[in-house]
């Protein structure tokens, strides 16, 4: 019986590891496209995502959003807090990536969005915002660039 549980545990870990590997790969690619640096410093709001991205060699997860090159946010409140703090402390916001469409739609500071819809990976970029930040994306992401919402 013990052997069975050991095998099951190992298999579970393998399966979970595979799922995490895909998430890691997506963010590595996205954030790498947004910030052309060898190692991109990233602030992550969501703890689970944070735990996954910590394993990346190309991404450095930081706790201070203002030390990050980019921040991945889920909630409107997180964005508002960040913005207030930026204003208060006179600091510049990092490049923002939204994990929900509405967050991306409602706030101009978000330069990219990534989420899942109908089982499909959805990236979203607005051409005007990319231009504003002077970001030129790789051809892989061109499909997801729209002119307006």
């Amino acid at each position: 019986m013990r052997r069975f549980w050991r095998v099951w545990l190992v298999l579970s870990v393998v399966v979970v590891a595979q799922a995490n590997e895909e998430t890691l790969s997506v963010y590595r690619k996205l954030l790498g496209a947004l910030v052309p640096k060898k190692i991109v410093r990233v602030y992550v709001e969501e703890p689970k995502l944070k735990a996954i991205l910590k394993h990346s060699r190309k991404l450095q997860v930081v706790d201070d959003p203002f030390r990050a090159d980019t921040a991945v946010l889920d909630r409107r409140e997180a964005y508002l807090d960040l913005k207030q703090r930026a204003l208060r402390e006179g600091k510049r916001l990092p490049l923002l990536v939204a994990r929900r469409f509405r967050l991306f739609r409602d706030y101009e500071e978000f330069v990219a969005a990534f989420y899942w819809k109908k089982g499909r990976k959805q990236f979203l970029f607005l051409s005007s915002r990319l231009k504003r930040y002077g970001i030129v994306l790789t051809p892989d992401f061109e499909y997801f660039i729209v002119d307006r919402l």
């Binding site: 469409f101 509405r102 739609r105 819809k117 109908k118 089982g119 499909r120 990976k121 959805q122 990236f123 979203l124 499909y143 997801f144 729209v146 919402l149």
Partner: protein, 645 residues
Amino acid sequence: MLFFVERLKTAALVVILALFALFAVHIYKTVSAGTRYLKELEAKQAAEYAARIASLIADETENLSSEHLENSRAESIDKINMLLRTFMTEEYRYLYIVRKNGPKTFNILYDASGKSDRSEPFFPRDEAFYDAYEKGEALLVSGRKKEAPDEVWRTMLYPLKDANGSVNGMVVLELSSAHIEKIEGVRRSLDRLFKTAGVAAGIFAFIVFYGLIYYYRWYVWHYIDGITYAKNRTYLSDFMRKYTLKSYGVALIDIDGFKHVNRSVGAEGGDMILRRFAKNLKTMLPFGSEVVRTVGAEFFVMVPQRAFKKRSLEEMLRNVSDTLGKKQYVSPDGKKASFTLSVVAVEELPLQSVSELSVLLHFLDEKMFLVKSKGKNSILLVEDDQAEALRFKNSEYVKTLLENGGIACLYQPIVNMKTKKAVKYEALVRLVDPDTKKQISPYLFMESLKGTSHYIKLTKMVLSEVFLQLERYDKIAISVNLDLSDLLNEELIEAIEWYLKSHRGCASRLTFEIVEDQEIKDFEKVRKTLERLRRYGSQIALDDFGSGFASYRYLVKLDWDILKIDGSLVKELENNTKKAKNVLASIKAVADLNRYVLIAEFIENETFCTLLTEIGIVLGQGYFFAKPDTLRNLIEQGHTVKCVS
């Protein structure tokens, strides 16, 4: 026969396994076909389903007009969402209606999950969406593409056209992988089973293959003669132990004078000739025959008896001798050689034939000696009755005969040639076949019993019978045979002593005829043993005096009561009367001086009687007086023996 039965069993097992495998494959294919059918059925139903959805949407949106489809009133959206929700079953993962918005994006207008934001662009990441929308044709798309969702098996795209035929939207019905997994459940299990079985079979096949190679190498090393590539003695020995030669005719073939061949063509040439000979021999024999190189230039062949329906073994071997014996062989360096063959054959080995190779070869060797001594280059077919002797070389069989059939004692009278009266009877033991009741001569079986516990048992049985007769007939004397080697067997001597002790009253009427089967090395021990036998009044006779080791030295070294002159000496009276008479007379003189009773064996006619009595030898034994018979029959003749001419 057993050999082929074993192979048949293996073949039958292989056939059964193959049939089982075929059956398993058939089940697998049936299940796969069934699963495929169910899946196709699902796909077909999806198309009908999407059409029905479209029809209901059409009712709600003024026949799918663009304006009504895009109606952004909340209650309208909710209503249609709810409608879509009613269509959601466990077979479907997603159900929504999209509308194209720009060259690459869609918007989700209605969603069975009720969660969509119409302003949100939807990237389907599948060219099929664009194709179906542009062409206005329903399309069923496989979910096996790179960017396709894992949870979707297939996607049904059903364009919604208005009255003018314009596509204003598209129903997207995505069939669930989980549901299909259930349908595929049995097939996947079978698939896994087959894959596992396949891997196991692959490993097994590898092991078997490797095992076969190993077995082949071992087989060649163990059973194949390195020079001729025929089978070797080990093969034959193992074959005889496992199976039986009962259904084979056998022969021993010896190449005459191969030593000279070797000398003339050299060792390498000789080996080559042997190799070719063995190969040719094999091809000349019927299917199922084996050629075994026993030693040197000697081959043992076994031919299945079923082949004798067409040609007898003798004919086959004659053909071999004529063909291969006349053939001229050329060595690698161009030297020529030819030779003749000497052959001994047995067409049918008897039942319960010997299972030891050495005994069989010894038997055939003895016959080969006869062939060679008659000038070689000939074939000797051993007669059935001679071959019968082989049966008795099987010690286990002989022991069984002794256990089940027992013994019979025949007696031959020792006669006073003057009075023609029997003075003594020599006991001659016979084995009795329990099935046929046939009596078997000790010449055939004694060698198999010698040295075994059954020999002592036989001796006890003989003594029991003899003492029974001595007690039954209180006036007669009987002699029994013992070998010199028996005198050195303490267990046997003790057994004899016990009988003598138990039958003291008749022990003095018993004579032990000592037959020399080997040269005496320890005279002192033999002397002491003879003394022990004499202790109860029995007499000691030296048998076969005048032949073999039974020389005058024995007369000096040991004490005897009786000398029995060997029949070969007596026989010489026929051919060399004068010389033989002189020799026999000298023996008579020695006997007289030492007070030995003298008995002449092999008396076959009246002439012998006359000549011997002239010399003064009065006692004789032989067919002239009586053939071995039961004591009762002989006694009934009243101690008077009819002379048989």
